[in-house]
Symmetry: C2
Subunit: 152 residues, 2 copies
DNA sequence: TTCGTTTTCTTGATCAATTCCAGTTAGTGG
DNA sequence: CCACTAACTGGAATTGATCAAGAAAACGAA
């Protein structure tokens, strides 16, 4: 199924902007809205920032892309959906890496108490320092001083 | 140990604003900066917003309070630190409830692959609908239409 | 105590990410 | 090919948070 059919199947109109957004999110590695906008413009010329946000909103609402929001970074998007995988986030460069969920379906964990909540998802984020930042190779925003690495 | 001694022990000066912030965070239930500012003002009169942010920053930096940032809500603060507990977040009203971590120390989970990261924390957020919102009692911002409850 | 240093607080501007709005453009089903 | 409506544009506005410079206050030392 190509992207045009995917969009139509989700009840969305097929536009150059949305095809480019979908491709940018799939090709990129957990890009944020700004980087997606940049990639989209490099592909189809001028596209307003609002169109990018609108497109991302439509795609997330229909479940074609997933939006993740690690603390301290803008929202990021990925096309890997439905497999309930988790994420590894670097405290320094904020880079995101996927991690398979051993349990499969959501919610993959059972809380010790549910407090009456109707739980549908367990979101797991592993925080640490990525290989590049550990070796000083990474483009860390503040790699000069590792400072305190807080614990949970 | 009272709050003044706690602040001093963390290397911070003792001010009325900070004592009030610490008390507001402890008394409140995962309040955001705005609500903390409101509580502080009700206790010690005028305090600038900046002083509240600065105080919260100082308290989080020294580990006296923990800052959590659930997707879609402003940062929230709690005084329960060091026990690596987790959170239950309501998709509708954004309310937060603590959940004990059965494993104890951080990181409480081992990822299936570490990808070379030096991992120090596993943050677990359970998403669902709280009892109040389920029964329609809650002050949900958009409780009229439950809309789609996305899955992980 | 009083002083001097350093932190903290104040006011006010600024920022980044995102959303709202009104009008125009362009997919799509008929 | 038309009409209807979703999608896009340009621009302003919102929210949550930070930065900057000077004034005030905490606290160790004299």
């Amino acid at each position: 199924m190509d992207d045009a059919a995917t969009l139509r199947g989700a009840g969305l109109r097929v536009t150059a902007a949305r095809l480019a957004i979908l491709d940018a999110v799939r090709t990129g590695n957990h890009l944020d809205a700004e980087h997606i906008a940049h990639a989209v413009r490099g592909r189809v010329g001028h596209v307003s920032t609002q169109a990018v946000y609108d497109g991302l909103h439509a795609l997330t609402d229909t479940g074609l892309v997933r939006r993740i929001e690690p603390a301290g970074s803008p929202a990021r998007y990925e096309t890997r959906v439905g497999d309930n995988h988790h994420h590894l986030v670097c405290r320094l460069c904020k880079g995101v890496t996927d991690i398979d969920c051993v349990a499969g379906a959501a919610p993959c964990l059972e809380p010790s108490q549910s407090h009456g909540y109707l739980i549908d998802e367990a979101e797991v984020v592993f925080w640490g320092v990525c290989p590049d930042c550990r070796s000083g190779t990474g483009e860390a925003p503040n790699a000069s001083e590792p400072s305190a690495v807080p614990r949970g």
